[in-house]
């Protein structure tokens, strides 16, 4: 499954970058996250409930950030297993400076989805995944605003 999208923040690029690298901020922003722990440098373990309406699956995920080029580029490797199936893949994130306080993030992901959710949920998988990523950016935007307000 290949997905891509973009999202614009009314914030300087460095602030967007810092927020995206901040485990505490991510913990608050990842949709359906239950636990989120740093397990090593740029390595995290998370438990989350992902899905839509009453069709939510619990997943344990290992996340690793790599290929970091502050403040404009990074990649995430994800390996998640759960009751309805598994997700393995890689996401690429590029932060583009549109102005002193305007930043666009362009993202793309290539993931393998297997198990029940891939078979039965196939029709809506891509759409729901995209929507979930959209919720993440929205929450990140909220975090950024909070940081801006505090400063």
């Amino acid at each position: 499954m290949k997905l891509d999208g973009s999202y614009s923040f009314d914030a300087p690029r460095q602030l967007v970058w810092d927020t995206l690298q901040d485990p505490e901020a991510l913990k608050k922003c990842i949709p359906g996250v239950e636990t989120f722990e740093q397990t090593g440098p740029d390595e995290y373990a998370a438990k989350m409930k992902i899905g839509v309406a009453s069709i939510k699956g619990a997943y344990s995920a290992k996340i690793k950030a790599f290929d970091k080029q502050e403040p404009s580029h990074y990649k995430l490797g994800i390996d998640a297993n759960g009751t309805p199936g598994f997700v393995r893949g890689e996401g690429t994130f590029d932060l583009v400076e549109d102005g002193p306080s305007k930043t666009t993030i362009n993202w793309s992901a290539d993931a393998q989805v297997g198990g029940l959710v891939a078979g039965v949920g196939q029709r809506m998988l891509g759409g729901v995944a995209k929507m979930t990523v959209g919720q993440l950016w929205k929450a990140i935007e909220g975090q950024i605003k909070e940081k801006q307000g505090a400063a």
Partner: protein, 288 residues
């Protein structure tokens, strides 16, 4: 396949159902109507509600009534009843036609109007018909009954504006004017499969020009939506092949489809255009 364990509750009145739902809303409660989507999802264990509140025993939710300019349909009215109802055929012929496209007869024997709309599958026929007609949804919760316009009700994939402690009790469809031309076009790999794309159209003509146009598209985005850009192109114009082409292009431009194993995003957009043109042509031929 068997579902995960759940507790079964079968209230006999709307008030009792709402009170049970309110009690268990924060503890994974789910309302069971016809069960034609929910039960397979439970059997696959993709849905694991803890509490299942079965509203099939609430006879007060089973009706098709004409109320002024509206056709009021109770939540657990079977799809098969819609198909066979003379009142539906007379007042909202489009609904009779779309019903034929829902799954198969055995599914329609159990499947309900309220269940279909509350489930809000992006390719389901009733959310599309409700969007096209401009329906309203009645929901009852612990604080009483509220009415929600369909465009506000359908939020995104399988998600509606219903609160966790609200039950959909009625869907109200506007009665169709006698002179309106209408059509419904759906493409699926086999009859009874989930639609890949579906389009409904309604045209009101006045002395050879379009007085009002409504177009709704399903299967080409998270929820059924009105192709308002295409509607605007048609208003006040005479129907020609060029105009229909322009309108279908506009309709295609409003789609936000995803690719999956059944069809690519490009193909879905293409289908939306072709089906819009066909639906408008057919609607035009029926308008008088």
């Amino acid at each position: 396949m068997k579902p995960a364990q759940f507790e079964y509750l079968n209230p006999s009145s709307i008030d009792e159902a709402v009170s049970l739902l309110n009690q268990y809303a924060d503890d994974d409660a789910k309302v069971l109507a016809g069960g034609q989507s929910l039960v397979p999802l439970m059997n696959f264990r993709l849905a694991r509600p803890k509490w299942l509140i079965d509203i099939n025993g609430i006879e007060a939710l089973d009706y098709i009534r004409e109320e002024g300019d509206w056709l009021a349909v109770g939540a657990i009215t079977r799809e098969r009843a819609m198909e066979k109802s003379q009142l539906v055929a007379d007042k909202c012929p489009l609904l009779k036609e779309v019903t034929r496209w829902i799954g198969h007869t055995t599914i329609r024997n159990r499947g309900t109007v309220g269940g279909c709309i509350a489930h809000n599958d992006p390719t389901a026929e009733y959310p599309l018909a409700a969007t096209l007609l401009g329906a309203e949804v009645k929901a009852q919760g612990p604080n009483g009954v509220r009415s929600i316009p369909i465009q506000d009700f359908l939020v995104t994939y399988l998600t509606t504006a219903l609160e966790p402690n609200e039950i959909l009790t009625e869907v109200r469809f506007p009665v169709m004017a006698q002179n309106v031309g209408w059509a419904f076009q759906e493409f699926a790999r086999r009859h009874g499969d989930f639609a890949i794309v579906e389009v409904g159209a309604m045209l009101t003509m006045d002395n050879g020009t379009v007085k009002d146009a409504r177009i709704a598209i399903g299967g080409a985005g998270p929820v059924a939506f009105r192709a308002t850009d295409a509607e605007e192109v048609l208003k006040g114009q005479q129907i020609t092949d060029e105009l229909l082409e322009e309108a279908s292009e506009k309709a295609g431009g409003m789609t936000e489809p995803d690719s999956d194993v059944h069809a690519s995003a490009e193909y879905r957009t293409h289908l939306a255009k072709v089906l819009t043109r066909r639906a408008l042509k057919e609607a035009h031929s029926r308008a008088h």
